[in-house]
Symmetry: C2
Subunit: 452 residues, 2 copies
Amino acid sequence: MKFVVDQQVEDIEMPENLKLNTFLQEFHSNCPHPECSFGFYGFAFGQSPFPVPQLIQNTLIKNVEKGAYAPISGIPELRNAISKYNKYYFKMDVAPERIYVGPGTKELIFNLLEILHGTVILPTPAWLGYLPQIRFLKKNYHMLPTRANKKISPSDLRRLALRLQDRQKILILNNPNNPTGLLYDQLELEEIADVCREQNITVISDEIYALTTYDFSKFTSMGKIYPEGTFVTNGLSKSHAAGGYRLGYVIFPQHAADLKTQFKKILATEYTAVSTPIQHAAVAGFEISKEMDEYFVTTRNIHQIMGDYTYHALSAIDGVKATKPDATFYLLADFNAFATDLQKARISTSQKLSESLIVHPYHTAIVGGDSLVLERTDFSARIAYVDYDGASTYKNYLENKPQSNAEKLEFVKMNAPKVVAGIDMIADFFDKLKKDTLSNFDSKKSSMITSS
Amino acid sequence: MKFVVDQQVEDIEMPENLKLNTFLQEFHSNCPHPECSFGFYGFAFGQSPFPVPQLIQNTLIKNVEKGAYAPISGIPELRNAISKYNKYYFKMDVAPERIYVGPGTKELIFNLLEILHGTVILPTPAWLGYLPQIRFLKKNYHMLPTRANKKISPSDLRRLALRLQDRQKILILNNPNNPTGLLYDQLELEEIADVCREQNITVISDEIYALTTYDFSKFTSMGKIYPEGTFVTNGLSKSHAAGGYRLGYVIFPQHAADLKTQFKKILATEYTAVSTPIQHAAVAGFEISKEMDEYFVTTRNIHQIMGDYTYHALSAIDGVKATKPDATFYLLADFNAFATDLQKARISTSQKLSESLIVHPYHTAIVGGDSLVLERTDFSARIAYVDYDGASTYKNYLENKPQSNAEKLEFVKMNAPKVVAGIDMIADFFDKLKKDTLSNFDSKKSSMITSS
């Protein structure tokens, strides 16, 4: 039997996770060299390396008998806990009635894009999760390339909005940002909010990395600055290292009663509710406790140490520019200074660069620009600094907190040897690239001399 | 700020669960009469009353630390277990590669409707979950009313298919059936499959109630009869009494490689994967074990005892016709014999009937015909016989299995007093309805005599 597939499904791109898996299956086989038995240096997957907080695990254990369907919007205890969590950490007054729980923020963002009419504005580079959703839903959309500082320019946003005819425009703001690791400060958000008010732009503010912000006092939620027009999404996946649990939430703007009714209908139509035992476990993750607070502080401190190392080590490679992360566990590395050398080596696209780095002897997995909604010839890449044993690193950190820069360097070398070695591999790769093109040039020159 | 909602979202109907909740909130408040402190007789919600099997609970406890994202299609252990489960219970050879795990069969059916091009054929009465999905996805669809026996007529199906112009047609088969509790036997399925082959109809066979079939030897999966054109969906919700866990699976037809790639892309775009701890717990639910087998036998025996009682008690009400359930925990009760009386009492739609039954003194919640994709004036209703304490009933059953009809009656009276009392209320309602219309008639007659 031959099946007819919906055209839109065939046309959309694979989202990040699937793309990476397929890429690794295709290009990375087990290497016959004994020294490569470690597999590969993983700078690609965006997953926190830490264990799920013990408090959440214990609460899940206590709720395994909860087999009944949960309310569509989430169990009341959880919506209450999330409300208090937003008050405590983000200084936002959010009534539980404005909060909806879903099986991951990914699906909640998809659901928002389903119910909200209008054109989507997608700043780039971007996480490769939004675009397949936008395209599958056949929404009109426009890219908004960020400026040299890798942040949205309010005047660019205004200029784009003025060109769009729609009654409603939807800006996807990802703050702190994946892939750059950068944070929008309060002033920057206020400037964006001004344009949004003026141009009637609705904001979906994906703040899944909020609690990873290294200097947490610097984080401000767009929901606080633009409460009448912002949907804030967050969840357990990054700050709570429980992406596999699949639980996110969305905060609706003030005064959006009708919209909430419509949203609830969509959740009921598509998935009924989030797993009940998981919801109960999540209550412990969002309730204010000393244990969770220490977990957030410890994990973000470790992310910062790893991020600082990665930033400095990559920046030390002649020609590499990198964003200096304020949050998350990523930075954006810019290898475009090697564009000419890469072209000469027939590495003409970011996909080819990823392929060249994953093979022997480099075995280094990165997320290339084509997976960050950049042009195919943009040799930028997302570097995730999470390829280490989170459990032992967490323990080692608490036992002996590194203070000085030397101690921090030692900490990275001891706990994250693959991060260190992987960056060395990237350095080797570009070093060899330069030498090869140089020697090709020399050999070309010499062959010219010989033949002359 | 005023938000613009997608038109399609506004137009779809609320799915069953949401509709019921809203209905109860609106029409059932706590009754001031002390004798009504019990709340209401619940024949509406479709949820197994039994505890989640201990084996599944224990396995979840052992896997609470699994915080990492699972593979999109499901963890290999689970797909293997589901493959063996299908072999053992349904005599089907299904390679694990044909199995995809999702957060409930509801979402998987939605995903199938997303990727499959073509017109949907929806037999009625139907569970009110399919229609909002079909309408939200803007799919063309046609109802296929069942015959007097409440089953699909193959010749009606052929006739309808011949009228449809689409390259691909999709039949939604729900077997065992919600709301009728009826089972299609092998011969009936073969006749439907013959039409499907001839007319190039793809089948989504929702078999979520398969293992509740009272005489399990009579159950046949459409996936066995029409393997080249059937998507079979099943999960933990009904047979494993774990609807709140949110885990379902779909078996793809043989030879559908390209379709699987497209499907995976959609899952990755919308929700990444099912909760990892839940997937590990589900392995225990699908692995063949003496404990799970006993659970299936015990729960289906109890469902049968409750179903037989409900069927006979309702049929004993003069004028009520009911389907005799072969499976599930539902039957379809037909109150259309009272249509004239109902109309006289200004109960002109099934919605009005539901409203009249939920108020004092009846306090009885049913799912009316309008929530079963029937005409608004069709006074049929789904009666779920699950309003009892599943844990104690399970225990009592095992301690002293009722054998004779008298013992079974005693078992129902002892364990499910609200089912007994609720059916009595339905009987009272129709009894009073008849008397009232009769006395109205009498008083009208007498007033006519007086005035003449």
